[in-house]
Symmetry: C2
Subunit: 166 residues, 2 copies
């Protein structure tokens, strides 16, 4: 649904009423790219250690980061298309799908980041066995996953808000 | 803000327009009591083990469960008061405070549950050292924290929805 040209005096092709960060805006595209980048960074750092499959939480982080990266990249392409053709993405069904997907991937990413953080703190602070483990890599991957979730939260809240306020 | 008697033909004291589960309804009170009960159960089961302070994630679960229990009990008392005096809780500021509080406690509870789940799976499945640990207690406490979060999610979504749709 394109709402740019509803007013008489508005030039065709102008996108109106979209708050910064909503889908189809440059800020929204930036958020999506940040999510995908930090999820990919978490994935790469975690996968660069050779012993991550021995801990279930780290394997789960890799899986959640892959899902987060694919989801954010898909929506980034949708955003790029909407920006290129100067169309708004305030379609009710699209926003509903975006919100549910954001909620699911956000919960999974937060859960994976928290599980990895629990293990990392156990290894580093409680047991003090960092010498025989890749603590720095684990911590970096966990931090990247948290940053990806922090970039996802505004997208999810904005989508849910625009879904509820119509 | 009391909206029960706005219509001419409506009897005074009837609460209208509140969806089931919103604050001030019986279903909302049930959700709050379920959150508080399961958070208290997670706290009790985890605190009954003597070695939980040796793992940071388990200490964090205890702290998050205490916060969740206090928050849900406070809102349960508010709900009981609203039901007893037959008033609606659709006040904009109150709903905003409820939503932000639900969001914060929900994120903390989910994070604590996921961190504990990561450690529990590490102990039970990856390292197979359940014989020298209280695996059953850890698993029960983690499950109770997850159930408490599942009871919190509808409250948070309903509050956010009613905040955005006004």
């Amino acid at each position: 649904m394109w709402r740019g040209g509803e007013g008489v005096a508005q030039p065709r092709g102008l996108r109106m009423k979209d708050p910064p960060g909503a889908p189809g805006t440059t800020a929204g595209l930036g958020l999506r790219l940040a999510q995908a980048f930090f999820a990919a960074a978490a994935l790469a750092v975690m996968a660069s250690t050779n012993d991550f499959p021995s801990v279930s939480a780290f394997s789960y982080l890799v899986a959640a980061a892959i899902l987060q990266c694919l989801w954010s990249l898909s929506l980034a392409f949708v955003d790029i298309y909407a920006i290129l053709v100067k169309r708004s993405l305030r379609n009710a069904q699209a926003v509903c799908i975006f919100t549910i997907g954001d909620g699911i991937t956000g919960t999974l990413t937060l859960g994976a980041a928290c599980a990895s953080a629990g293990i990392t703190v156990l290894i580093g602070n409680d047991l003090n066995i960092c010498a025989e483990n890749h603590c720095a890599s684990f911590e970096t991957a966990t931090a990247m996953a948290f940053i990806s979730w922090f970039a996802l939260a505004p997208s999810c809240i904005l989508n849910f808000w625009s879904m509820a306020s119509r």
